[in-house]
């Protein structure tokens, strides 16, 4: 007799992902969608799609979705949440979207303590436009607009958003996770769950930063890209909880 041991979460539509082979966006989508299902949030959620590789994810998450202008997802999320405080509102943004063009919006959404959840995917590069340098690109990392590698004296150091946002009083929960192996994928899901639970409990702004990969624009195989993320990104972007108001209260 056969039984189902693994199936698609109800948090995702059956629309095919539009991501390149080996890209970790798919894993992150699944984690978010599983949490939406497990916390019974699909029917009351509104997700915000960014501009970037994830722009089409309004086709993937099985809830109401709003596509936002580049970097403005936290402002759009604010507008929705303020007029519908009993709904769950999340944005899904890449590092160009959140850490470059949208820095004002993310910083002020955190400052106001907007009761929203942000899924921040950091792959250290602009993926959709073809691999240009991002604010998160590592020092020495070669991209199509830093052909000799990122130089601090020219472009400054890679921006650490979780550390920056954790200094803001309105931020309730900030954690950086990675999806480079199954252990971390499991931990990442717990983090996403925690972030949505914070929103359910009206604790305020929550953000999970994912260390992600871009095999195509990094010029690596998917396996090598996972290894590169572990060996180069994780040391510069240390994983862990940067802010948790529920712990501080104890």
């Amino acid at each position: 007799m056969s039984k189902i041991v693994f199936k698609r979460t109800k948090g995702l539509t059956d629309n095919e992902f539009s991501y390149c082979a080996g890209c970790t966006h798919g894993i992150i989508h699944r984690l978010v969608a599983e949490v939406l299902e497990e916390l019974d949030l699909i029917d009351k959620s509104i997700g915000i799609s960014p501009v970037g590789c994830a722009v089409l994810n309004y086709n993937n998450f099985n809830c109401d979705m709003v596509q936002a202008a580049h970097g403005r997802a936290p402002a759009v999320a604010t507008g929705i949440k303020r007029v519908s405080p009993n709904r769950i509102v999340f944005s899904y943004q890449g590092d160009g979207d959140l850490a470059s063009i949208g820095t004002a919006e993310i910083v002020h959404a955190a400052h106001r303590g907007e009761n929203i959840t942000v899924i921040f995917v950091n792959n250290a590069i602009y993926g959709m436009t073809g691999g240009q340098m991002a604010p998160t690109t590592l020092v020495g990392q070669k991209t199509s607009t830093s052909p000799l590698g990122r130089m601090v004296e020219h472009s400054g150091s890679p921006i650490k958003m979780s550390e920056l946002l954790a200094t803001i009083p309105g931020a309730a929960y900030i954690e950086r996770v990675s999806v480079h192996n199954p252990l971390h994928i499991k931990k990442a899901k717990q983090a996403v769950k925690k972030a949505f639970e914070m929103q359910i409990e009206n604790k305020g702004f929550s953000l999970i930063e994912f260390i992600s990969t871009c095999p195509v624009n990094w010029g690596m195989t998917p396996i090598d890209a996972l290894k590169w993320a572990e060996e180069n990104m994780v040391p510069y972007y240390p994983l862990g909880v940067y802010k948790d108001v529920t712990k501080e209260a104890k």
Binding site: I46, V55, C63, D64, R72, G79, V107
Partner: protein
């Protein structure tokens, strides 16, 4: 109901509340700041949300979000701030989201000045944002007309699922006039909202608010659908007033505060036996081209008067279709002309016409 003596910016804020506005997002800028100030005090009484955003860009994107959630929403700003909102207005137009945007215009370009101006005519009517889109744009001349139009704007915005702009110069924002805030207006049927993304609650299919169409064929279909809507606006929403046009030799074309100055000039000129009338556009988009087609045969020329160096002038030329000679009078930078300057401009044009 008795009239209230109100300052323009505050009257506009109250009109929004009376028009059912349930959310306002804005950023301080002169000369419109009393508008958000008023709403910060009174929005809660009307069961709505007021939030001061970190920038005009954030404010218009909050408007986008609240509108996507199906709520009557407004923002206000002044010229350079409206420039920053243009991206969001383009997105709202593309995603077919309603919303009311008030522009209390000041002089430009750049930081310009803070005195009244009509230098945003093109910004308001041509869209500073990207793409093939238009916003309904109103340019009232008095506080009564302004508050009436604000209340109507919410309905029209939802009927067309399109942003509506209200362009008033800084003078209207700053002056005081008596207004009847509860004046009865025509009731319109608002189509049932079957598009808002406010959570399915398990009772309907999920919805998407979006302006992205990667397939050019699909985008063209979307553009054609929008175009049809704009054509319907052109057909049904042109609004204008003609004053003393029956026997006029010269018709002044002016809107907003400039139209009021021209009214005074017309009185003086009529006393001197000079037959002058006024064609006052109330919608700047769609431009009231119909008004130009029904001008009296007595009209020998058009004098366009603006608080700019001639931005509406292009639309007057388009609407005129080469029929009548056109002259222009404008002041800019926040300078408001004396009535006599308009009188002189009319007399000069009249002399020019009789010499031909």
């Amino acid at each position: 109901m008795a009239k209230l003596m109100m300052k323009g910016n505050e009257a506009m804020a109250l009109a929004a509340l009376k028009g059912g506005c349930k959310a306002f997002f804005g950023y301080p800028i002169t000369p419109q700041s009393e508008l958000p100030e008023y709403l910060s005090r009174y929005m809660k009484e009307y069961g709505g949300i007021f939030l001061q955003a970190e920038s005009e860009i954030a404010a218009i994107n909050m408007v986008y979000g609240a509108s996507a959630a199906g709520v009557r929403v407004m923002t206000s700003s002044s010229s350079p701030g409206i420039a920053l909102k243009q991206e969001g207005i383009s997105y709202m137009s593309g995603a077919e989201l309603p919303g009311v945007i008030i522009n209390v215009m000041r002089g430009g370009p750049g930081l310009g000045g803070i005195q009244p101006s009509q230098a945003d005519y093109k910004q308001v009517t041509r869209g500073g944002g990207n793409g093939d889109y238009y916003c309904l744009a109103f340019a009232p001349e008095s506080l009564q007309e302004t508050v009436d139009i604000i209340k109507e704007a919410f309905d029209l915005s939802e009927i067309y699922r399109n942003p509506v702009m209200i362009a008033v110069d800084g003078l209207i924002g700053q002056m005081m006039e008596p207004v009847d805030i509860d004046k009865e207006l025509p009731k319109r049927d608002i189509p049932k909202n079957d598009w808002a993304t406010n959570g399915t609650l398990g009772q309907r299919e999920r919805r998407i608010v979006n302006s992205l169409y990667l397939d050019p064929k699909e985008l063209e279909e979307h553009n054609l659908r929008l175009h049809k809507k704009y054509e319907k606006m052109r057909e049904t929403e042109q609004r204008y007033e003609i004053v003393q046009g029956d026997d006029a030799e010269i018709m002044i074309v002016a809107y907003g505060t400039m139209a009021r100055i021209c009214r005074s000039a017309i009185e003086i000129l009529r006393e001197q036996g000079i037959k002058v009338g006024l064609l006052r556009p109330i919608t700047l988009w769609p431009y009231p081209v119909k008004a130009f087609k029904q001008l009296s045969s007595s009209v020998k020329g058009l004098l366009t008067c603006e608080l700019s160096m001639g931005q509406m002038l292009d639309d007057v030329k388009i609407a005129n279709e080469g029929r009548l000679p056109i002259a222009f009078f404008g002041r800019s930078g926040g300078m408001i002309p004396e009535t006599e300057e308009i009188v002189d401009a009319v007399i000069k044009m009249r002399e020019g016409l009789s010499n031909e």
